[in-house]
Amino acid sequence: MIRWILAGILRDKTRSLFPFLVVMLGVALVVYSVGFMEGVFMGMIDTTANLDTGHLRFVNKPFYDEEHLNPMDRALAAQKETGKWLRENSDPKVQWSPRIRWGAIIDVPDEKGETRSQTPMIGMALDLLSSDSTEIERLQLKNAIVQGELPKGPKEILLGDQLAETLDVKPGQTVTLIGQTFDGGLATDNYKVVGLVRFGVSAMDKKMGLIDLANAQDTFYMEDTVTDWLGFFPSHVPYTDYRKVSSELQSRLAGFREAPPQGWAKDDFPIVLSILDQRNMENMESMFKLVKKIIVGVFILLMILVLWNASLLNGIHRYGELGLLLALGQTHKKIVWMLGLEAFFIGLLGSLSGCLIGGAVVYYMQEVGINMGDAFVQTGMMVNDVMRGRVTLEGFLLGIGPGLVASIFGSLIASVAIFNRSEANLFRELEAG
């Protein structure tokens, strides 16, 4: 019987082509939209993670509680020991980067050494100089440089391009950073601006500078001390896994706190956060989920409406055939079941094709990306210029499910008419041809 139904679907294009196309298109759009949104959301997550929070963050609670003040004296010592513990105790997929989150006044002198311009700025110190550093690749710094080059030597700084514009500095000039040392004193140090970077995130590009971690430790008297350990997952790990890994690590951390490294202060109390615990990401996430649900819901509804109509037309187109089935002694229930099965197959074929098409577009966006230029830079959102998609299993499931549901549902609603069809006039109806 199943072969019989499949043969009918494949041979009779009038009964199958239109619903097939509807399902295919609908599913392709769902898969595309979901993939696109996943891509945007993951892009947002990754940008925020790279420049700010990591996917996971290991941070001293006293620092975290006042982080808007950049309390360097609450940074966490024993960098080497801590790093070793993290690498040994967390999920092997996670890469850990020590960072120093610093704040300073940046002072640009004129030729005579007098202050020409000055502004508060924030910065991140990260490993820029060691040969095996993963940070340059992670932040795609080579792409982000709009002028100048990457730091190659000590006490060199990269500035956000908008910040440099405000301060009117160019690569080659020397600036002074005035900040706070680990023990609460005043830190001043000269840095040479070697390059200007743009991340496409205006909040960053307006305020941010990047220096090497070892240089920062020197400038701020923070030997073997960092403010943050940022953990990064490879991009194939979905953000939904972050929390789980984070809480696993959190539970092991208790043991580490019991026997802390010697360098830690008495009130040091490191904690593990996932990106979703920070920067309002959790709200973003639930909004993102809601929008996904709405999109899928709207598409299901639209598909059901269209397929319902298509099934009604199909019922008229095949009035004779269905009448014949009744005459041959098929119950109404069985006929509806057969039509449902037919719809299931059409829905399945349509959904799979739609997934292929939608998935191909998303895959292209994931691998190549579509450059949106400055369109997003102005919004201040943590979004990259390049829109990317993301192929996920969920995206496909969100496509296939609705395709099948809509197809079967549409056919079943239309079947009410068949259910109510009386046999009494079959002969006359079938005479009409």
């Binding site: 043969a7 014949l324 119950t331 079959l426 002969f427 006359r428």
Partner: protein
């Protein structure tokens, strides 16, 4: 001969708008197993209505129809579907073949609906296709067949489950004389071979030559009932 269908004081009233229209007045008759007979009469005389009632597609307003001692009145919609599936074959004026399926598949279809496996019934279907003379057309679609050939497919489909009663509403009405004769001859042969009763409705005089019994209908009443006598004359 055993009685296959017993029609007892059947009245069929249709409600048309506010008025009742009596399509059949007090019809009583018996049909024997293996009969080969027709109802003749002008259009509107009630032939189709009578076949409808015998087919369990509609119910009489009053009176009873028995099929092998089962009163169709006692059957609900699902029982009636089963009654048709088990006992009846239908042949229509316009064939009603499924256009996307081949001759072979059209004949196979009722068996598939009964849950038969194709491999198990393949030979049976092919034999029947041969019996109706369409072996060369077995893989063709209905669109590539003549009207006569289509009606042969429909006959094979009606017979494939070996029903005891075939109801054929104006089976030759869409056929030219040549094809009508061939189809009638075929049905007569099959009636003799397979012992299925054939009941036609028709206003085609050509049918008269073939049937063993002819019942005249007019305005929903039987006006005569002729059986072929020992000399082969209808009386």
């Amino acid at each position: 001969m055993d009685t296959l269908v017993k029609i007892e004081k059947v009245v069929k009233v249709y409600r048309v708008g506010d008025e009742d229209f009596t399509a059949l007045h007090d019809i009583s008759l018996n049909i024997e197993a293996g009969a080969f007979m027709s109802f003749v009469g002008p259009s509107g005389s009630g032939k189709t209505t009578l076949l409808n009632l015998m087919g369990g597609l509609d119910k009489p307003t009053s009176g009873n129809i028995f099929f092998e001692n089962i009163n169709l009145k006692d059957l609900n919609r699902t029982d009636l579907a089963e009654y048709r599936r088990k006992n009846l074959g239908f042949i229509f004026q316009t064939y009603n073949l499924l256009p996307v399926y081949s001759v072979y598949e059209n004949v196979l279809f009722p068996l598939l609906l009964d849950g038969e496996k194709e491999s198990a019934v393949r030979q049976k279907v092919l034999d029947l296709v041969e019996k109706v003379g369409l072996s060369d057309q077995v893989n063709k679609k209905p669109a590539h067949l003549s009207g006569g050939q289509c009606q042969r497919v429909a006959i094979a489909r009606a017979l494939v489950k070996q029903p005891s009663l075939i109801l054929a509403d104006e089976p030759t009405a869409n056929l030219d004389a040549e094809n009508s004769y061939q189809v009638l001859e075929l049905m007569r042969d099959l009636n003799r071979q397979l012992k299925a009763a054939f009941v036609f409705s028709t206003h085609d005089e050509k049918v008269t030559k073939y049937v063993n019994r002819e019942i005249g209908l007019e305005d929903g009443r039987i006006i005569w009932d002729k059986k072929r006598d020992g000399n082969g004359v209808l009386e």
